[in-house]
């Protein structure tokens, strides 16, 4: 066994998991607190990437671009909440799905009109574009940046949720919305902030990944389904659950892709293993979800005190 390779793969899994977490944490809060299914959450991921890319293209530094784009994402999230999402909270889940799918089409078309169809590559400062050597391991610097960025935001979010007054309100709102309101909290404002934070985190994930994969139309649509899987596996409304489920799914996906063919070769012919492995590794995430749902329908970490 090549332990160096395994370690690299673990890092890669961690990185994928953290990106998923950035997406899923907002999704799970919006889902858990407002009971709102937002398929267009992935569009924020795309818009974040394009915002950041345009600022870099206008000569901004990458770091400054991220900071400005984060503010932009908060505004975008707030506007969407105020104008559209708020009207939908009382509707049923099917209406959410339909309307937010419409939003996806709108966002994709707007990006197409504004930035053209060809996507956008985002240059990195040369400091981040190189590699770091750790003993026998050579890792892309930017991967480490993503991992530390993701962990940092996860830590900030965890601080926000567990320590701040806003976090208390969010948790209180998740367990008993009526009581929060009856104690003088403007629930509309709270929802707006939660939604905008979710949009910002999703946008941040887009900004982090864009220098690797480029910003492109529909980039969020590919990942949103996996993010929903994370939310379900982790337990709806649970940031902690989203974190563990993200890492779990990131690792399963990455390790499945890396080692499944070797594993299958033990049981079957090389040829068959080679074709079966990619299909099976693509399925792994869904198999995991089906198993979790069949045996633990509330997810792995259902948030305390949420009434069904």
């Amino acid at each position: 066994m090549d332990w160096g390779l395994l370690l690299t793969q673990l890092m890669n899994g961690l990185q994928l998991g953290l990106l998923l977490f950035l997406l899923a944490s907002g999704l799970t809060l919006v889902f858990g607190i407002m009971d709102f299914i937002n398929l267009s959450h992935g569009s924020f991921y795309m818009i974040g990437a394009y915002f950041c890319g345009s600022i870099v293209a206008r000569g901004g530094s990458f770091l400054a671009a991220v900071l400005i784009a984060l503010i932009g994402m908060f505004v975008v999230g707030a506007v969407i909440e105020r104008v559209i999402a708020r009207r939908l909270y009382r509707a049923d889940h099917l209406d959410h799905v339909l309307a937010t799918f419409g939003l996806i089409l709108i966002f994709d078309a707007i990006v197409h009109i504004v930035w053209g169809p060809s996507g956008m590559a985002i240059p990195l400062p040369s400091v981040l574009d190189g590699q770091v050597t750790l003993g026998s391991l050579v890792l892309p610097t930017y991967r480490l940046v993503i991992i530390s960025g993701g962990l940092l935001v996860a830590a900030i979010l965890s601080m926000l949720v567990t320590r701040s007054r806003l976090g208390m309100m969010i948790r209180a709102g998740a367990s008993n919305r009526t009581m929060v309101e009856a104690l003088g909290v403007n629930i509309h404002k709270l929802f707006l902030v939660v939604f905008a934070i979710g949009a910002t985190m999703s946008g941040f994930a887009g900004m982090l990944i864009a220098p690797i994969t480029e910003a492109s139309i529909g980039m969020g649509n590919d990942i949103i389904i996996i993010a929903f899987v994370v939310v379900i596996v982790g337990g709806i409304g649970s940031v902690k659950g989203a974190f563990y489920a993200s890492i779990l799914i990131g690792l399963i996906d990455t390790l499945g892709r890396s080692y499944l063919d070797d594993l299958l070769e033990i049981f079957m012919s090389l040829d068959y293993a080679e074709t079966a492995a990619p299909a099976l590794s693509a399925m792994l995430v869904y198999i995991l979800m089906a198993v979790v749902l069949a045996f633990r329908p509330q997810g792995l970490f259902p948030p305390a005190g949420i009434r069904a």
Binding site: R165, M168, N176, E181, A182, L183
Partner: protein
Amino acid sequence: MLDLKGVETFYGSSQALFGMSMHMGQGKVTTLIGRNGMGKTTTVSSIMGITPCRSGEITFLDSRIDGKPPHQVAQRGIGLVPEGRQVFPNLSVRENLLVTADNYAASKSPWTLNRVIDFFPELQARLNNMGSQLSGGEQQMLAIGRALMLNPLLLILDEATEGLAPLVRQEIWKCLNRLKESGMTILLIDKNIEELNRIADYHYIIEKGRVVWDGTPGILQANPELKNRYLGI
């Protein structure tokens, strides 16, 4: 201070309040008594705006609050201790107290975390426990403390001692007496007539969503048949 005039409230198609009217004076303890399911909690929800009334008027400090959303009602200075306590189970005691704390009425001597703990010393040791880990009595103290942290002008307690052990009830009654002495206006709902008689300034008995009798504790005490007719077995 708080006036209800002809309040009618519905749950969907089912009417729960049939023209509730009552009046509460500043600094007084007023009670709502009646059997279960007669509309006490609905009255509270209507005042708070949780279940908005369909007709009638609710006036608090000379301004109408019917039709206002709950958070605005609370911000005008009404603190709610709901039926079943409803502390946030996933928040610690400290967080439960702090999460909605504010001083909407700009009180000169506002309630603080320390003051609440002085008032309910039992909570001191439990500050870092989750809401769900408290006993019923502790939860009730926490719920009262949480409402006090809003620095309300009016405190509403729905089923102040229900489901509590006798000794704990005593404790709660003592606290309520202290609150009354501090000049707090209180709307109190409970089943314990003896205790209510001791603390209250005025009683309202409701049945089937309307007031069927109102008067002072003295009169209620003097008329045991009232008690049996509307409350007893």
